[in-house]
Symmetry: C2
Subunit: 480 residues, 2 copies
Amino acid sequence: MNDIFGEIDAIFHSKSLAIYGVSRKGGLGNVLLQGFIDQEFPKIFIVNPKITEPNVEIMGIPVFSSLKSIGEPVDLAIISTHPKFVKDIIIECGQYGVKAVIIFSSGFGEKNEEGKKAENRLLKIAQKYQMRLVGPNCMGFYCPETGLSFFPALPRESGPLGFISQSGSIANIMAFNSMLKGIYFSKSISYGNSIDLGFNDFLEYLGHDLNTNLIACYIEGMSDGRRFIELVKNIKKPIIIWKVGSTAAGSNAAHSHTGSICGNDILWNTIFNQYGVIRVYNMEEMISMIQAFINPMPVRARRVAIISGPGGPAVSSADMCETNKLALADLTKDSKMKLKEIIPKFGSSVSNPIDISLQATFDPKLEKKTYEIVGNDPNVDMMFIYLTMLTPRYKDLIELQQKISKPIVLVSAIDVNVSPDCFSKEIKRSFIHIKAKKVPSIIKELNQNGISVHPNEDLASKALYNIYKHYNNLKKSISY
Amino acid sequence: MNDIFGEIDAIFHSKSLAIYGVSRKGGLGNVLLQGFIDQEFPKIFIVNPKITEPNVEIMGIPVFSSLKSIGEPVDLAIISTHPKFVKDIIIECGQYGVKAVIIFSSGFGEKNEEGKKAENRLLKIAQKYQMRLVGPNCMGFYCPETGLSFFPALPRESGPLGFISQSGSIANIMAFNSMLKGIYFSKSISYGNSIDLGFNDFLEYLGHDLNTNLIACYIEGMSDGRRFIELVKNIKKPIIIWKVGSTAAGSNAAHSHTGSICGNDILWNTIFNQYGVIRVYNMEEMISMIQAFINPMPVRARRVAIISGPGGPAVSSADMCETNKLALADLTKDSKMKLKEIIPKFGSSVSNPIDISLQATFDPKLEKKTYEIVGNDPNVDMMFIYLTMLTPRYKDLIELQQKISKPIVLVSAIDVNVSPDCFSKEIKRSFIHIKAKKVPSIIKELNQNGISVHPNEDLASKALYNIYKHYNNLKKSISY
């Protein structure tokens, strides 16, 4: 614990907020405000110097022409105005004793040298008043526990994921995408140009934060590589990083997006590998790996059993397991004998990959028994299950997992979030399909039991390998 | 055109069907039967020697104890019984003048040497009667035009995709997955152990079939590599192949699944590359590439313009374009000037990747105008658009495409088939979200206009590169 932790934690626990950039005609400031209203943030004031008449309200929130006219302490200010107003607002905040300012406005260092100079001036003002800055060119914080938000209609529910993003829109899309997979946030942080508080500060914060069990990040570049290495060396929580700018084209794009220097990609990979950071390349992959690390089951070896009703995907699953450095488990004679007793004689296989044949569609008990025999096999460290579609039978797996505690991944051939409305009644009946609305809570329950759901065989086997690697790295650095 | 085309086409145009393996208590045979009923296949008879009393119906279909007792010609027979009955049924079919038999039953060559011998015996019987066999260990044919089917509740709608699959369950899952993305089939063929008609026969057939514009395949192994090479050399339709068994683990799994020998994977890749076959590694990737090749726009060079509302994904999109051998287009001065006039000054970029900023969410016209300026730029060969979510604004793109005819890919951060029920009312309003039920028809319309929708940046840029490569290969072999 240190000062940075306390200072960031204080921002997350702000009790009162002044928001600049909300107008009668609407705009981004109003959208931000709606986010705080939706989260029922304790005390919100709008500051707009153009509105000088008393007792005005916008969206049900009182409007003041200045901080002074509020007449109450303000912990946090959010600025969503034209960039030319930001400096004077920062001064006003400093004089009024505001503790921290989130600068949503863009048009600073990411634009040009003039913008960088303007940023330096803002920082000096903030330092003079011992005020912390987040941004500019960011969305700020989302914390359902304390009511902070950066967009309307975000979930009120808290979860184990701490998320840090250089890009505001990625933080935003991630919040919605995660919700569809039942993933909820302790804190989500969009830091933009980070002229004061930056990526490493937030990483350190989430490393200590008791409500955060795993950390995921979107980054373009970084200013202090040494500190980053120290942090990933010491933080024992799983860290998943979507680092972009791995190519010349991406690197140039990042520079114009947030003014970032992306750095040498080979160097990044070396650091990530050495310290067990899980690198991902897009949002779909990030969500896969987050699911896998909500509650990863400890594992010592990497012998996978693949179970599939359809035989075809059993083959590509085996391909992807080998490609992603996993070994196919050799089932014990005892397991094979037990499987032979229950699995249909034709169109099936009791060797790994275990192909339970099309019959499984008509005999739900067959699936359950297979899971039990394979899950309890001492030669099996992890399970890889290919499903046509998520069905209420997921409960069998949770029941089994509570006894075996091994990493389990599911591939669902048909997107889990698909609405049953897309299918005819007949199909809905034959697949015993789950309503789209219930999917997030089911995936959440699966994840909490160390079972993750993936869109393809590649991501599922990567998830298993990363869990194996995670526990393997931990072994090296802590007594285990 | 040759005999094979005619013989397979005759099977697809069967007018009468005898199905073996349907029983009063239900089972896989009944499931197959339901598929034909759903497709309103012209004339169906159940043959079950155990049911000898007259005028029995199962699922509304008349039951006969033998073919002879039907007293009408039968074009096609489907066998879904225990494997031990198959031989006698084949003899009965041959004697009765049935033209082709689909053997659904498994427990033959994929099991052991004894099964291989049994297959040889079946083939000899069929040859004696000049009858063609499909399977065993397969699902058979699905052809909405003529009413053939291999599963209940498959779409009645026809489309441009011809699909060939060694695995029956893959053919099945593909049918449902495709439906969700608005992809429909001319014919889908599951051929299993292929003791008579095999992969190359069906490939040749679809190459000639006038209702098939593109061909996708799932294969584990192949018996006649030379013929395959001849076929892919001559077929000018796009061919997408999901070839599994690329690793030792997968190869072993394939052997027990269909008795396949997968072969040297490096050799496969060499052949695929040389003849412009698009190789994919899972179903998600296959559906991406099929979408891209429903109506690929001809393209001579590979300069891509990336347009993104959220700035973050613009960077990873640029990364993936470079990784997948595309070049970032250098917009003309004229385009840049026009963009500067309409794009917000802050949080945006008029250089490629074009970042239209969060403002796009609130100003739909901004998106439309940007598409027009960029799409009409002579330096832009292809467009890559990153969306948060599919919205009714897709119509703007179709309108533009009808003028520019350039390949366009969309990445939709939030799964396109997601039900709006998963979101709160506020979110539905702010995203102007499309109802899940309507998504397939919208994607179909997009695909028909040369616009494909992808789950991540990697697949979207692969799709663009494959389109470029496709037209590049064609140039070499035909006058263009």
